[in-house]
Symmetry: C2
Subunit: 216 residues, 2 copies
């Protein structure tokens, strides 16, 4: 099947991403300040080719980790209340990386705290941007497999994290994940991106038949 119109745009290619920014903007400075309302706000001052200065502000967050944990034919997700949207959200286990910590160590801690399992096998999958039009957050995506249940969930050590105390673990069969997305029962963009990125990287197979349906 051909295209519906004359070709507009260029093909994506390895060197396209490495090329300079599409507009010649030079970053003069980057600062972060805590706003009086809590969250930190980053500010980038840019200079155009004409010497004009622009200011762009965004939410500054720590880097985060998200874990795609696979147990047999199941994906282990969590269900947690999210005040920003005023509703519980089904999502990957995720957490902030404290300054000076390695993302992989934090991924192990989050999996123990939020899901109550540890993994014998860890795979670095991707480095994503959560929402680059609005925030600087970098998300480190890991795959976790060969899981063992802990006797109880690890304690995050933060008594104020009421939401984390109420986390429920939710299992989704891998081959059911696309249907859960299509149905709107999974609405979190980072979770959808994380699971499909894991599939694209060959870490899991969303078409894999479940027990008793194996095609050999």
């Amino acid at each position: 099947m051909g295209t519906d119109m004359e070709r507009a745009g260029t093909d994506i290619a390895a060197d396209q991403i490495a090329r300079p920014a599409p507009v010649p903007l030079r970053e003069l400075s980057r600062t972060v300040r805590r706003s009086e309302l809590g969250p930190r706000i980053g500010e980038a001052v840019l200079e155009t080719a004409d010497g004009e200065r622009l200011v762009r502000r965004f939410l500054h967050t720590p880097e985060v980790v998200a874990i795609v944990a696979v147990d047999g034919d199941d994906l282990l997700l969590i269900r947690e209340y999210r005040a920003a949207v005023g509703a519980p959200v089904v999502q990957l286990p995720m957490g902030k990386v404290p300054a000076g910590h390695a993302p992989l160590d934090q991924a192990k801690a989050e999996l123990a705290e939020e899901v109550g399992v540890e993994a014998a096998r860890w795979t670095g999958l991707a480095r994503l941007y959560s929402c680059p039009g609005w925030m600087d957050q970098v998300l480190h995506l890991f795959g976790a497999s060969q899981l063992t249940a802990l006797s109880r969930r690890a304690d995050s050590g933060d008594p104020d994290d009421i939401e984390e105390q109420g986390i429920e673990v939710v299992r989704v069969r891998l081959d059911r994940f696309p249907a859960e997305v299509a149905s709107g029962r999974i609405q979190d963009a980072r979770t959808i991106a994380g699971v499909y990125t894991a599939a694209a990287a060959g870490f899991l197979d969303l078409g894999r038949p479940a027990d008793g349906e194996a095609k050999h």
Copy 2:
């Protein structure tokens, strides 16, 4: 293949999402204020079952639209400089929905401004959360097909939007999209989520062979 451990967690089910929040938190109030640094900060005051009050702050944004535009075997993406991450990002065409506007109308406007095409066919695909741990943003995902190139890109009318003026249109063959994600050339979580949600909903087929490779 069985699971590696005793089953932890519950299976996802339609009624699980409709159930009450996993922690009994009642929202007492929700307010939005402009911080002195620019972005708006939302604040939710919650009450626990014990009568304790909690405050949760988050970035408040307008709702946004994102468009999965398919031209034959190609997906039309854009490449735009994003100051928050200090780099150009390959992503879906996206934009804010001004107060009082319908998301579909804004999707049509963004496709004309950012890609320079109009679509004869529009499909509502999903309502996603961009990043619900940090912001309240709701993303309306649309599919656009039966495209026609405009003689030139529509003007957003905002002379300060230097980044939008520098947008490049990038074509990705549908069956190449997973490889572009796996390679790290596409890193934007909302874009990955949006394209795979469109596939899960049956709007496009990421395994579809391109011209000349059709298997009939």
